[in-house]
Symmetry: C2
Subunit: 152 residues, 2 copies
DNA sequence: GCGAAGTTTCGGAATTTTCTGAAGACTATC
DNA sequence: GATAGTCTTCAGAAAATTCCGAAACTTCGC
């Protein structure tokens, strides 16, 4: 099946938006390729050809997307190459990956609180800790609510 | 008042964590300086000296933090230089800034949905749109709940 | 106005990130 | 176990980001 131009344009456009949200450029383009295909699976070679990128880039990008849980390997016995496709419900998982970053910030904040005596700085840091702790505790429930709504 | 070593270490540590979450390096360091000070306000020169950074860098970093709503100008009539301090409750605001990015992703997703006929790709894109639309709608309520809890 | 202190802007340098191309490793088939 | 196709790794190159320093601009006090 051949992608028409407006489809590819839209894919590149979305890749750009994902890039601006912090994702690596090539990883974003590869993800868009998986998002926009009607094929049941793609190989690294397929995507490389489609995006006119090197095999090396694809290897790195797919490795990242796999680690993020955005794509998964598809077993295809009679093929020599690895086949990949997007995971079914990757967005909630992707979002909860941010928790790792928030955890890091929280640890540093705690360290800061331990390092300063009571005063304006201490108050500020405690407020910061309260906020991120709250977010960290609420996000799982938020994602569950989305799943629940979706199930209906 | 002079910052002791453990305080500065903690500040640099937190700056590093913020950097890893996507913030510019110097902006993160400047933000940490404002977080950890007990002074009512700091000038660009104060921070430059403390961080051993150039006036040019400070200008850019403070401009960014100001645009993000993390710091604000403090009027100090009898001083020639601009004084800054952290805003009181910047975290919720900072978080809702992400909505801008999500909006961008949503626009690109809609464009993609318009570009493809019904099929697996279309389904995938619609699911993606549903997720981000949900998050966008829920985040304000989440932030309000934090404020409410905090007020008590 | 004039001078001093502070801030912003801008070009260039340096660091970091990212991509490619080539070489080596792996796997399935024969 | 040889071979052909595919993937991964690595070093170097290209590109982007970030920082600094100098110069221009603004503001305040005199």
């Amino acid at each position: 099946m051949t992608d028409d131009k407006s489809r590819r344009d839209a894919a590149e456009h979305l890749a750009l938006a994902l890039t601006q949200s912090g994702m690596q450029r090539m990883a974003a383009r590869v993800l868009a390729a998986f998002l926009f295909t009607d094929e049941p699976s793609l190989t690294a070679g397929d995507v490389a050809k489609q995006l006119d990128a090197s095999a090396g880039s694809l290897s790195g990008a797919i490795k990242l997307l796999d680690a993020l849980g955005m794509v998964e390997r598809v077993p295809v016995p009679s093929s020599r190459s690895e086949h990949f496709r997007m995971r079914a419900e990757p967005w909630a998982d992707l979002y909860s990956k941010q928790n790792t970053v928030i955890d890091l910030i929280l640890q540093s904040t705690d360290r800061g609180i331990a390092a300063v005596d009571d005063g304006p700085a201490r108050q500020r840091l405690e407020h910061m800790r309260d906020f991120y702790t709250f977010m960290l505790s609420e996000i799982p429930a938020l994602l569950e609510r989305f799943e629940a709504r979706r199930a209906k």
